[in-house]
Structures are given as structure tokens and as C-alpha cells.
């Protein structure tokens, strides 16, 4: 039995408290008045030697008398609209920061859940010693999913439509494209779908966990067979719901844009971060002496998956990007135009973190057995995939008003603390290695 160390407990609680304070600070400082935003924009423009804000204002004051009055009023309108737009973007930032961090930690747990189901359905012989670690991580699926859905709904019901513009009736009234999608993109149906997804995933997690614990003390393999069956069924359910979830929770921040391989793209990021976290927690428990059966051959296998799925992610990233770049259809390409213009470093930097680094670092077979090496590359992969989620959400909500400051870091701390607390508490609930699993012997003796 594993017991959570007091140090870890206080650490995670401290993270949550600090995170909460930071998130609170983010919300307190994000409500700027119209005048504040106006002065901020003109200061910003004068720093950079003349942006559009100053150009608009000066143009208005110089040419206003000479041209007709109608022109002048449209320019004033334009200016007001622009300032209001930026004001809204600034107000969106703490919401989006919270949402990105919440989704990032949730997607780790969901990625692990799908990996866990694959291990059962494929009857993998190497992984049973890691099942309890995976079950510990998937304990976060239910609370994490509920939090993500709650933030999404709250941004529309409590906030001022800070994440999803299609939730704003004023926007929809003037937007034919969103009107046409309104039968899918409306808050009620969105909430119902979210609840169905979370319920399905949690039900699988609940029963898989129940059966593997029952298998520990059983006299035959009937529980194992049950887990096998529900895992196969879950994988079918999962691939549908994961796809739809990615449209709902991520793609719909840009309701004018669509991409067919988006679901797989989100999934690839999900499973690679999930596997990285499995390796992290297995290595941590092993270093504390709780998981001696996990050998460097198991770590080697996990590192191979990290390597392979990193490349898989890059393949999907590039396929999505290259198809849209090549055809250059205006209604699709705006998605990448905003990302390349406003998020250049992050957008291409994550390619380096998520593909080039893991590709070069995890290629050598010997390095994949060295714990600190796997840890280091895992940290890079996780940072890269946080940025991936960030670049999927932020351009649609805060546009060029983005930053990585207190709201973002505090949100990550908040959910990291919660994640650690829930996962390590779940790990204390059952022995760290399953018993009586038909593949356990093979897994214990697994040697690559």
C-alpha cells in the first residue's frame, strides 16, 4: 500500500491556494474601463512607432473637418469598436487561462484512460504492473471533466461570453454562419453533450477499476474478461465522443473555422502527454521504493510510446497545417494567419518542443532507459503540449492581447495542485500492483 507523503500533500495544497490567489488576481485586474484601454492602446502604439489605434485617432482629427461628417462618425465608430474589442479580449484572458490549464490537466487523465483501455483490449503483456498507476491518474477524469465543462458553461452563463462567442446571442443575431450552426452550437445541447461524454468516460473508469480490484481477490478470471469487454466497447465510444468533444470544447472557440482531422489531432496531444505522466508517476513511485517491479524495460517501453506519439502528433499537426496552407482557402486559412502573426514564437516553438526535441533526444535506445533522461524529455513534452492547447484556445479569445503571466501560471498551479492531490490520493486506495491478472507474470518478467 502506498501512503501519500505529508510533503506532497502540503505541496499540492500550497499550489492550489497560490493558484487560487493568482486566478483571483487575474479576474480582479482584467476588468478595464473603456478609457483605460484607450490610453493603453495609444501608449502601446506610440511605443511601437504608430499602430492602427493612433493612426485611426490622428486620421480622424486631421481629416475630419475636410471630408464630410459621415466619414468622421464612421471613424469614431471604428475607434470605439476597436477599443471595445480589445477591452473584451483583456477581460477574456483570465477565463481562457483557466480554461487552457483545466483542459490540459483533464486531457492528460483522459489520454491515460484511453491508453489504459488499449492495454486491456490489446491484452498487452508488459503493462499490467502499471495498471494501478494509470488508474490513479484516471481518477482525475471525472472532476477534471466536470471542471472543464463548468468553466465553459460559466463563461457563457456567468461571464460575458468570454470563451465561446457563439454563446453570445448578440453575436449570433448578426452572424449567418453561426446561425446556421446554432442547432449544434447552443448552450443547452452543448451542456447535455458534455454531460454524456463525462458520464460515459467516468462510467468506464468506475467499472474498469471495480473489476480490476475484484480480480485481485477473485478465484477465476471472469473479472478480467469483463474488463476486456468493457474496454473494447469503451474504445468505440471514446473515439466518437473524443472527436465530438474536441469540436465542442476546443474547435468551437473559432466557430467560423473547421477542420476534419481536428479530433485526432487533439487525441494525439492527449495520449502523448498522458503517457508522459504515466512515466513520471511510475518513476517517482519507483524512486521512493514503492514500485520495484517496474524495471527500466517498462520505462523504455513508455519512452518508446512518448517518442512514437510525439511523431504522430507532429504528423497530424503538419497534415492539418500543410493542407490548409497549400490550398490557402480564405475561410480556412485565417486560423493559421492569426496564429502565425500573433503567436509566431509559440506556434513554431511548440513544434520544436513537441517534435524536434523528443525526436532527437528519445531516439537512442540506451537513453530511453535512463530515468532522468526520460524525465527531462517528458518535461519538455508537457510544456510543449500546454503551449499546444494555449495556441488552440487563446488566439480566438484574447487575440494579440495574450501573455504568459500571473493568470496563466496561477491557473496551471491551481490545476497541477488539484491533479497531484487527486491522483496521489487515488493511488493510496489500492495496492500499487494488481494481483491475479493473467498477464502479471509476463509483465513482471518483462525484459526488452
Amino acid at each position: 500500500m502506498y501512503t501519500i507523503s505529508n510533503k506532497l500533500k502540503t505541496f499540492s495544497i500550497a499550489l492550489m491556494i497560490l493558484g487560487l490567489l493568482g486566478v483571483g488576481y487575474g479576474f480582479m485586474t482584467s476588468h478595464k474601463s473603456f478609457e483605460e484601454v484607450e490610453t493603453m492602446l495609444s501608449e502601446d502604439a506610440s511605443h511601437h512607432g504608430g499602430g492602427h489605434a493612433v493612426a485611426e485617432v490622428s486620421e480622424h482629427s486631421n481629416s475630419g473637418h475636410e471630408t464630410n461628417a459621415q466619414d468622421a462618425t464612421t471613424q469614431v465608430d471604428e475607434h470605439t469598436k476597436h477599443v471595445e474589442h480589445v477591452q473584451h479580449q483583456i477581460a477574456n484572458r483570465p477565463w481562457s487561462a483557466l480554461y487552457v490549464a483545466a483542459f490540459f490537466f483533464f486531457m492528460i487523465a483522459l489520454g491515460v484512460l484511453s491508453f489504459y483501455a488499449i492495454q486491456f483490449a490489446s491484452q498487452a503483456g508488459w503493462s499490467p504492473v502499471l495498471f494501478r498507476v494509470m488508474e490513479g491518474i484516471t481518477a482525475y477524469v471525472l472532476p477534471g471533466g466536470v471542471i472543464v465543462l463548468a468553466i465553459a458553461l460559466a463563461s457563457g452563463l456567468i461571464g460575458h461570453y468570454n470563451i465561446f462567442v457563439w454563446m453570445d446571442p448578440d453575436v449570433v443575431a448578426n452572424d449567418k454562419l453561426i446561425q446556421a450552426k446554432a442547432s449544434w452550437l447552443n448552450i443547452g445541447w452543448f451542456a447535455v453533450r458534455g454531460v454524456i461524454f463525462i458520464a460515459g468516460w467516468s462510467l468506464y473508469r468506475y467499472f474498469a477499476r471495480k473489476f480490476t480490484i475484484a480480480q485481485d481477490t477473485a478465484s477465476d478470471d471472469s473479472n478480467f474478461k469483463k474488463t476486456f469487454r468493457i474496454s473494447a466497447a469503451f474504445l468505440v465510444f471514446f473515439i466518437y465522443t473524443e472527436s465530438i468533444m474536441s469540436w465542442d470544447w476546443i474547435m468551437s472557440v473559432d466557430p467560423h473555422w473547421f477542420s476534419t482531422l481536428f479530433g485526432w489531432y487533439v487525441f494525439s496531444g492527449m495520449i502523448v502527454s498522458g503517457i508522459t505522466v504515466i512515466a513520471f508517476i511510475a518513476l517517482y513511485l519507483k524512486s521512493r521504493g514503492y514500485l520495484e517491479v517496474v524495471t527500466d524495460s517498462h520505462i523504455h517501453d513508455l519512452a518508446k510510446y512518448m517518442f512514437g506519439f510525439s511523431i504522430f502528433w507532429a504528423y497530424l499537426w503538419f497534415s492539418q497545417f500543410m493542407l490548409i496552407w497549400y490550398a490557402n482557402i480564405p475561410e480556412e486559412v485565417t486560423y493559421f494567419v492569426t496564429r502565425i502573426e500573433d503567436y509566431n514564437l509559440l506556434f513554431f516553438g511548440m513544434m520544436v518542443l513537441n517534435f524536434v526535441f523528443p525526436f532527437l533526444v528519445l531516439m537512442n535506445s540506451d537513453y530511453k532507459r535512463i530515468p532522468w533522461f526520460v524525465m527531462m524529455s517528458g518535461v519538455i513534452i508537457l510544456i510543449g503540449h500546454y503551449i499546444d492547447v494555449y495556441v488552440m484556445i487563446m488566439p480566438a479569445t484574447v487575440g494579440d492581447q495574450w501573455g504568459i503571466g500571473i493568470p496563466e501560471i496561477a491557473s496551471v498551479m491551481l490545476f497541477l495542485g488539484l491533479f497531484l492531490f487527486i491522483v496521489f490520493t487515488a493511488l493510496t486506495k489500492a495496492p500499487l500492483v494488481v494481483k491475479r491478472n493473467p498477464f502479471l507474470k509476463e509483465s513482471e518478467g518483462f525484459h526488452y
Partner: protein, 178 residues
């Protein structure tokens, strides 16, 4: 022509062979070669063979392929004749890079795979009209053969091999090629 004496010990089971290799190694005899009909897992480790460096060569060949593809397309598409083809930007390599990636990828794999295979053939001296080096035809079917050169007491070695479960022990005079 110089001749040398070797002992051929024949086994019929790979587990027995593995144990025999360990015993013979423990007695500090040098094993010249082992012939098996199929890969025996762990045999290279038991014999103390150095790990292969083929994977490293493959990586280097892949790097060569990547460079070839970049230089080729930069020359053809950007330097030599930068035409406007369907509005694709041909002012610099980076601007049109996504269109080149499929070729960069394929050439990397192509160079890596083919040159590595050729390296393997060269290093293991395999080619179409090569004369087969098979001391006993049964080793391609169900027998395992261990070849040990002799310097000194033959009887000791024969006894040791018998102990390890060899079904057949032959003393052979071998003509050396050089």
C-alpha cells in the same frame, strides 16, 4: 596453404547451446563461430559480441538524405528558376518549405533504409553469387554448430563439450583462405 584445426560441436537444442556457450566461455575458450538455423535470443550477449552500430549509420544516412533533399529543392525551385507556380511563394526556401516537407521526409527515409541495408550486406559479406559458408547442411534446418579453434589439449576440450550436451564432436582440419 596453411591449415588449422578446429572442433565442430553439434547441438540439437538452443537452450542446451546457450548453456554450452556459457560453460565454454567460462573455461576461457575462444568460440570462433556459431551456426544456427534461426535467431537465438541472447546468444550474442552470451558470446560477448559487441553491439551493432547499424542504427547509428542509419541515422547518419538519414541526415544525408535530408540534406540532399533540401539542397536539391532549394537549387531547383528557389535558386535556378523561381517561377510562380499557382501563387506559391518562391522567394526563399523557408517560405515554400511546407510544400517540400513530403519530399524531405521520403528522401530521409529512402537514404536511411537503403544505405543501411547496403551497409549490412557489405559488413556481413552477402551478395548474389557468394559461395555459401556452411560447415554442415543440417545447421540450416534443426542443428546448432559451435566452432572452436584448437591450440593445445584437444582431449580437455572434447570432454568439456561432451559434458555440455553436444551430440556430435568432430575434429576438422581447415584450410585457411589467406
Amino acid at each position: 596453404m596453411e591449415t588449422s584445426k578446429v572442433i565442430h560441436a553439434i547441438y540439437t537444442d538452443d537452450d542446451v547451446l546457450m548453456n554450452a556457450v556459457k560453460k565454454v566461455k567460462a573455461e576461457k575458450y575462444h568460440i570462433e563461430e556459431i551456426y544456427t538455423p534461426f535467431p537465438v535470443h541472447g546468444l550474442d550477449k552470451a558470446m560477448g559480441l559487441a553491439p551493432t552500430r547499424l542504427a547509428i549509420t542509419a541515422f547518419l544516412y538519414g541526415a544525408v538524405g535530408l540534406i540532399v533533399s533540401i539542397v536539391m529543392m532549394d537549387y531547383i525551385m528557389i535558386q535556378d528558376w523561381p517561377q510562380n507556380i499557382g501563387g506559391k511563394p518562391s522567394f526563399s526556401y523557408m517560405e515554400n518549405m511546407p510544400a517540400f516537407v513530403p519530399i524531405m521526409f521520403e528522401l530521409t527515409v529512402f537514404f536511411s533504409a537503403h544505405l543501411m541495408v547496403i551497409t549490412f550486406y557489405l559488413r556481413s559479406k552477402l551478395w548474389p553469387f557468394k559461395k555459401a559458408e556452411n560447415p554442415d547442411v543440417r545447421t540450416t534446418d534443426d542443428h546448432f554448430l559451435m566452432e572452436i579453434p584448437i591450440h593445445g589439449n584437444v582431449l580437455d576440450l572434447e570432454n568439456l563439450l561432451k559434458e555440455t550436451g553436444a551430440v556430435e564432436i568432430k575434429l576438422i582440419e581447415k584450410e585457411e583462405a589467406h
